[in-house]
Amino acid sequence: MQIIVVGCGNVGSTLTEQLSSEGHNITVIDVDNRKLQNLVNSNDVMGVIGNGVSFAVQKEAGVEHAHLLIAVTGSDEVNLLCCLIARKTGGCHTIARVRNPIYSMEIGYIKEELGLSMIVNPEFTAAQEMARLLKFPSAITIDTFTKGRVEVVKYRVGADSVLCDQSLQQINSRLKADVLICTVERDENVYIPGGNFIIRERDEISIVGTTQKTLAFFKKLGAAVTRARNAMIIGGGETSYYLARQLLAMGLQIKIIEIDKERCEELSELLPDAIIIHGDGTDRNLLMQEGLMQTEAFVSLTNVDEENIMLSLFAKSLTKAKLITNVHRISYDEIIDSLDIGSIIYPKYLTAENIIKYVRAMDNSLGSNIETLYRLNDNRAEALEFYIKEGSPVVGIPLQDLPIKPNILICAINHRGTITIPGGQSIIQVGDTVIVVTTNTGLNAIGDILK
């Protein structure tokens, strides 16, 4: 597809990199020559210098032939105007990033009236993701398929877990849970495990199953499945506000520590049910005084990545609370991951992922038949959902007879809303959707899984 990306900040460059590597033709527009040069030098994309709102600049970037324009500059208004102009001249799909909470109340109206295909809000997305994690504290990440009916949950095996030093066959016969361990990440390597694979301590395993089944599986494991009853949030930015609103609706007690007096007052007006503390969230005494020891969930959401990481490390040393850390800069993710501080949220990455999901769905209507795609374990494995069309080569043959390539696992079959974790006898039918996990990236159609 021909895609125009306006703005090459963090989200813009992540998007550009990913979409270009997926085979789309990308043109990037930005006012900053240097930033643009950097991006163009490291990726096979074209750059156009100028203001993306300008009709002439958009035309130069080829808006007339573009399928999609994604506006992710720092300003909401610029993004909306970009999309509006592109929509009128090119008639292409448009995606805008709009983050101001004032607009977010009217997002539906704006989207409808301006003819936008999608509006993304990084803070809101991040908050949503955090809320989901707090519902299910054992998980590191949760991805959903088939409109939320199937989940892929990533979980780190602790030293005292019953999974330790067990082969998958043993685990299956002992726990009798109808879930599938689809990937195991161990020391930088990602495995698609077979029946004899033995799980070790500190492995990060991804588990596929329906929401109830995975919950049952974790119960049998004895891992914490009850959700937290209270949460302490450090920093009172937009994300905190969105998160607190969602958590309050779930019935959690919320405590927000914010350093800015005015913002505290604002928050106390917006969130009357939350406890807003005016103070420095990095102050050790304050944290203790506000009951850090008793908190069941600890979310660090200050604007400084380093502070967030330090806070989480501190909380980890004192409590068993579920930790969530917000990190803006994507560059050092593998180092942060190695610190073992629970769930790390990269709002910019999430935003990019959301947009990419939309692009894939669009691409779907133009050819390939991927419904959803998640990158697992830092892009080294993918979970894909395929829609099975008439005449597909996998239809009607028991899975054990299909010549499936190595490192590919069919994790779930959705047959008219019924999810099954397939065995050797299972048969895929037309109209099903199938979830496949693989370390061979770049699958485009279900036929690609066959030898």
Binding site: Q2, S20, N25, I26, T27, N33, V40, N41, S42, N43, D44, V45, M46
Partner: protein, 480 residues
């Protein structure tokens, strides 16, 4: 510096060299010439080395501007040596340095020869000589980019290092598609010229070879008289296509692919190039009118010669060395300016000149208004400070190389004009100079040292200085 990836690409280049060598082999088969064995032998050698070397996969895919520059210059050196082997093995050019000179002159589209009698060459050797022009015109790495799916962002570094012009941009988001479009246009125009030359009465073989030479803005001829003995229609066709070869290929992209004829017509660099060609032709016509029976004939030769020197082709229809001084001076200036950026021609490039002239004008304005802020503009956009700086240092390096080459050449037996214009003709990839290296003469008389210097000038000029110069900078070769 990532040596392994450079090594890997060089083996792929050898593979392509083998593919190129298939063509002269076919010609040899058609005309039953035993020179074909020389081509076949070199081809087999290339295939064997490439196939073995390709198994040796690169250790890492790290590829930055530095790797791009070094790869491009090494590619050109390698290709020149491989290309010279058939000449040498077939004994048609028995001296290896001469064979190398001829090949370098071919690939760099210079067209200056060391042969005094080109008509005595066998047809397959003649074919290879002119085909090198065609490959070198658009660039071999651009072709490799167009054909091979090289992963990663590194193909842009290659394209930037090989394509001429102050700032190399893409036509479409993907480098590979850009390279494909460029070669598509190139092939289409070449075919068109072949067709027109055949219609004008030339033999098919001659038409094909002349088209290679013209579109690559090379200048090797098939006859000792260069283009002088062809019919007037053929000469006119060659004139037009020399100018077409010297135009910025963006014009054709806008015209044919993007279908924006208005923007194509407004292309500033192309306009200035054509304007320079016209003015120079008129000046020379006025100057040489007396030597001809009619002004029209004088104009025909003037345009041909200006187009030939301006586009850096180097054909001649007449011995322009006998023209009056003023005409020769005009030709020299046209030669120095050269063709457009993004064309197959050489020289300083029209766009560089346009930017430098504007910059000089602004410098004068700065005396009157010391606080003035002004940037040169080209194609309706301001030139970035960095581009301007790189053009200024380009000019300086160009002059330094020129002076150094000229000094070394002066050790040889020839006079001042010969040496001075020889350097110009080689660094600008034009071909003929004046006096002893004029259109009816050749470079065969120079010593080995002078030939090496001129070869260096040709490759350096074709690759726009930096890729070759960077080979001599010690920090390039450090791993860290």
């Amino acid at each position: 510096m990532n040596y392994s990836i450079i090594r890997y690409i060089l083996f792929r280049v050898l593979e392509f060299a083998a593919i190129f060598l298939i063509l002269p082999c076919l010609v040899a088969i058609i005309y039953h010439e035993k020179a074909g064995f020389a081509f076949a032998a070199v081809m087999v050698l290339c295939i064997v080395i490439a196939e073995i070397g390709k198994q040796w996969k690169p250790k890492s895919n790290v590829f930055y501007a530095r790797e791009g520059f070094v790869t491009v210059s090494l590619t050109w050196i390698l290709l020149s040596i491989v290309g010279a082997l058939p000449f040498y093995i077939s004994r048609e050019i028995p001296n290896f340095v001469d064979a190398l000179f001829e090949t370098v002159s071919g690939f760099t589209t210079t067209g200056g020869s060391i042969l005094s009698d080109v008509e005595s060459l066998s047809r397959s050797v003649q074919f290879w000589r002119l085909f090198t022009h065609w490959i070198g015109g658009m660039g071999v790495l651009v072709l490799i980019i167009a054909v091979l799916p090289l992963s990663g962002g590194y193909n842009m570094h290659l394209m930037r290092a090989e394509s001429p012009g102050p700032s190399v941009g893409k036509l479409v988001p993907r480098v590979q598609s850009t390279a494909k479009i460029l070669y598509g246009i190139y092939i289409a125009i070449t075919l068109l010229q072949m067709l027109l030359l055949i219609i004008s009465g030339l033999s098919v073989y001659d038409s094909i070879l002349l088209s290679f030479s013209t579109m690559g803005t090379g200048g090797f001829g098939i006859l000792n008289s260069s283009a002088g003995s062809y019919s007037i229609p053929s000469q006119v066709i060659i004139t037009v296509f020399m100018i077409l070869g010297g135009l910025n290929f963006n014009v054709y992209y806008l015209l044919v692919v993007a279908r924006k004829p208005k923007e194509a017509v407004k292309h500033e660099e192309a306009r200035v190039f054509i304007l320079i060609t016209l003015i120079a032709s008129v000046l020379i016509t006025l100057d040489i009118r007396g030597y001809y029976s009619s002004t029209a004939l004088a104009f025909k030769d003037a345009v041909f010669q200006v187009a030939s020197m301006g586009s850096s082709t180097g054909f001649s229809t007449t011995n322009f060395d006998l023209w009056p001084s003023f005409s020769k001076a005009v030709l020299f200036v046209v030669m120095a300016i050269g063709a457009c950026a993004g064309s197959t021609g050489g020289g300083l490039k029209v766009s560089r000149l346009m930017i430098l002239v504007q910059d000089a004008k602004h410098e004068l304005l700065r005396v009157v208004h010391p606080q003035i802020l002004k940037k040169p503009h080209i194609e309706g956009r301001a030139v970035e400070e960095e581009t301007l700086r790189s053009i200024q240092s380009y000019l300086m390096m160009y002059i330094l190389i020129y002076i150094a080459s000229f000094l070394i050449l002066s050790l040889d037996k020839y006079d001042f004009t010969t040496n001075f214009t020889a350097v110009m003709a080689n660094i600008n990839n034009t071909g003929p100079g004046f006096n002893a290296v004029g259109p009816t003469c050749n470079y065969g008389g120079y010593s080995v040292l002078s030939k090496l210097v001129l070869m260096f000038d040709m490759v350096t000029g074709r690759l726009e200085l930096l890729p070759m110069l960077i080979l001599f900078s010690p920090s390039t070769w450090k791993k860290y």
